[in-house]
Structures are given as C-alpha cells and as structure tokens.
Symmetry: C2
Subunit: 135 residues, 2 copies
C-alpha cells in the first residue's frame, strides 16, 4: 500500500483561516509533499543537474533505497521531476527536474539559504531551551 495514489479532496480556495482543513488548503496539499524528510534534499540535488538513482543514493548516504524510490515517485507524481529509463546493458534511470520543479525551487532555495545562514542561531536557541528544561 506504499505507493497507492493519495486521493485528495477537491478544492480551489485559497488558504483562509476559516478553511484550514486538509481537503481545502492548497498550502497543506502542496507542502505535505515537499515537507518530507528527504524531499528538499533531493530537490536541492536535482536543481543542480540530473542524477541517476544510484548517484542519489550515494549522495545522500543515510537514505534507504525504499525511501529514495518512494520520495522520487512522490516528487514525480506532483510534477517536480521527470523519470527517464535508458535501456542500456544494466538499465539506468535518470531523474531530471521539470520547469515546475525549478519554479518551486526558486523560492525554496531562499529558505534553504536561510537555514545555512541561521543554523547557529537555531542551535543556540536549542541549547538554551534544553538547559532551562533541565534546570
């Protein structure tokens, strides 16, 4: 049941606070996919250049094959990446970011840049919180 298509309720309304339930909210519908543990990492890689399955697996050392397959399928299903099979001797598969994917990655990369710039501040906040919890 891992790869069963997720049926999403129809909607078209912007995400107002009065309709923040799962079926009606574009933000939730879109974010719930790209907010996965591995999605942003794979998008970051594929924004750079196309990669093959095994390359991505080596690039992200601690992802399981199962989750790599599944995350790539989800990103493909939402139209962010394309999957192309080459009938070579051992068949190879290339994943490539689509235009839609690049248009998403434009604003997303700003968030990733923020993460890099503010990592220290976040770690400091964590240390402070953990210290006050123990005290």
């Amino acid at each position: 049941m891992d790869n069963a298509p997720r049926v999403s309720v129809l909607a078209g309304e912007p995400c107002e606070t009065s309709s923040w339930d799962a079926g009606n909210c574009p933000v939730r519908d879109v974010m719930n996919q790209i907010a996965g543990k591995w999605s942003t990492l794979l998008l970051e890689a594929l924004a750079q250049r196309p990669y093959r399955f095994g390359e991505l697996r080596r690039l992200v050392p601690d992802i399981s094959q199962r989750m790599l397959t599944q995350t790539l399928r989800d990103l493909q299903r939402d139209g962010y990446i394309d999957r192309q099979v080459f009938p070579t001797k051992p068949p190879s598969v290339e994943y490539r970011m689509t235009e839609l994917g690049h248009s998403l990655f434009a604003p997303l990369s700003k968030v990733l840049a923020w993460a890099g710039e503010n990592h220290a501040a976040v770690k400091a906040a964590r240390a402070k919180y953990d210290a006050s919890e123990l005290g």
Copy 2:
C-alpha cells in the same frame, strides 16, 4: 565512477554534497523541524498574530492536542516562537512568533505563496501521473 562534481547549489554554500550526512548538514538540521506536517501551518498562523493554545486548536481543526503541543514545543525549542503563561483564573498560554521566526517566515512565505499559485498545476500533474499508472 564517482565523478559527480561536489558543488554547492546555493550561493551561501550551506550544504556541500560531500557532507550531506545528517550531522553535518545545516539544511537538514533546520528543515527537518520546519518540514513537519503541522509546522508551516502553525508558523503561518503565528506570523499574523499571537494565538492561544485553544485558538490554534480550533484554527486547525484536524490536529490532535498531542501533536499541537509537540509541534509548538519543537518550534519553541528552535527559537521560532515564544510561550508565555498567564496566571489567569483558568490559566491561559499565549504563543508568539520571535524575531528569528519572522526572519524565517520571510522566505518561507514565498514558498507558501507558490503553493497557492501553483496548486492547480500540481493537481494536474498528479491526475496525469495517476492516469498513466492505471493505464
């Protein structure tokens, strides 16, 4: 064989492909928190104005109290929101976004806007994928 160029995607160079393991990567460390199912939704709410626990619960109808508590704690721990207890008759708790939280929400809101604008394209891609899977 492993001739993949180890080049950073982002200008600020927050995450090189040679250190994409969990412990070394600021992007993963920061994103894994804000990428939760409920985090962006709560950040979106608290970017507008402070809210109390019960208000947030009513705002997001399908979040459980357990996950609301836990997500708020995580956001507080990373320094994005503050938690303030008022010793009123029935004690009330107010959650308020910090400066760090607002500085994160600036780029994050661009992604949320993208989600609203491109929801239709994503749904179309999904429909196309599901149709080809069934055929």
